[in-house]
Symmetry: C2
Subunit: 201 residues, 2 copies
């Protein structure tokens, strides 16, 4: 049955994903809502899952448990434990059958992204993912500028290796803009990175 | 340059992955080495990573941290925390660009695999993975029988739904054998599941 508006025009269900130019117009900044970058990404991933666009999760923070107590009639209580450094990136999951793996970092710096934010073992993990055919990238959020960029692993390696060879210890803002892809922000997906990946495939 | 054996025969580098029938002949049981099922899977994944066959990791156990202390001159100590129930499966990663996601369970039972070993939210997660085009399965290890089977998500759902509809609360051993794929065991990869997945693609 065709549903019609009172003026006779056919009713058509709108797409769940607004086109990017629209998203750019109705810019919603999660920073204005007092959300952290991590919360904004989690909200985005929840939206992708709800809309069956992708299944991407943040991995739990690894903890080294040393001592556990079992008080009577209650569940186990961890009494001594230490945070371990993650050996992989923070987020991974699946989009259109493909493996997606990324790390997210933010900086208050307006002119560059300091590479000390990334650990050597995370770079090794990203190389392993690429070797196995996965899609890996870094989401860089410039908090003061309210801008987010996606930089693919291969581009990130270039700057990482430049540092290893004694070059600068950061990626300049201009280099991020040139080599990265700007991530739009829409109401339900404050860090709306999936449409950028779609262009790749 | 061709390298030759003293008998004049050409030297050819052997494949890193022995064919399955060979693996079956030289059966190495991790249980005999006092290894847990989890350790055996981790060893297998380490081997896959080293040989650049795949990049698959176990996710950290999620912990809800309640109280953290910062003793002088030392790193943060977690003084009160609780284990949370994982909302996803335990293992995920990438193989030939494809997203791989699985849960691993063992039972001492010789005649069936009790479904109480699996939680509803894990089934929901597996459905989400399938919807997004990922490959999801369950590794079932019968400890007493020293046998491991791989059962794809779609087959697992059948038995899960049979239980939901008031049917039996387990999958019989025969059903596992019929609907699952036997996982071979080789020295470096005691739970050698990758060759089974290769057949799928």
């Amino acid at each position: 049955m065709t549903i019609r508006y009172p003026n006779g025009k056919k009713f058509q269900k709108k797409l769940t994903q607004p086109p990017i130019h629209l998203a750019e117009q109705k810019k919603v900044q999660f920073a204005n809502r007092g959300q952290s970058f991590e919360e904004a990404i989690n909200q985005t991933n929840d939206f992708y899952l709800r809309e069956q666009l992708a299944c991407i999760h943040k991995k739990p923070t690894p903890v080294q448990v040393v001592r556990v107590e079992y008080p009577a009639r209650s569940r186990a209580v961890i009494r001594e434990a230490y945070y371990r450094q993650a050996s992989t990136t923070d987020y991974n999951g699946v989009f259109q059958g493909k493996y997606i793996d990324f790390e997210a970092k933010e900086t208050k710096n307006k002119t560059c992204f300091p590479l000390q934010n990334i650990h050597a073992h995370q770079m090794i993990h990203m190389k392993n993912v690429m070797n196995a055919g996965g899609i890996t990238f870094l989401l860089i959020h410039f908090r003061s500028l309210k801008e987010t960029y996606l930089m693919y692993g291969k581009d990130l390696f270039f700057f990482w290796e430049r540092q290893q060879k004694g070059g600068r210890k950061s990626i300049t803002y201009e280099e991020v803009v040139t080599n990265g892809l700007k991530v739009p922000s829409i109401f339900h997906a404050p860090v709306h990175y999936l449409p950028i990946l779609e262009k790749l495939t």
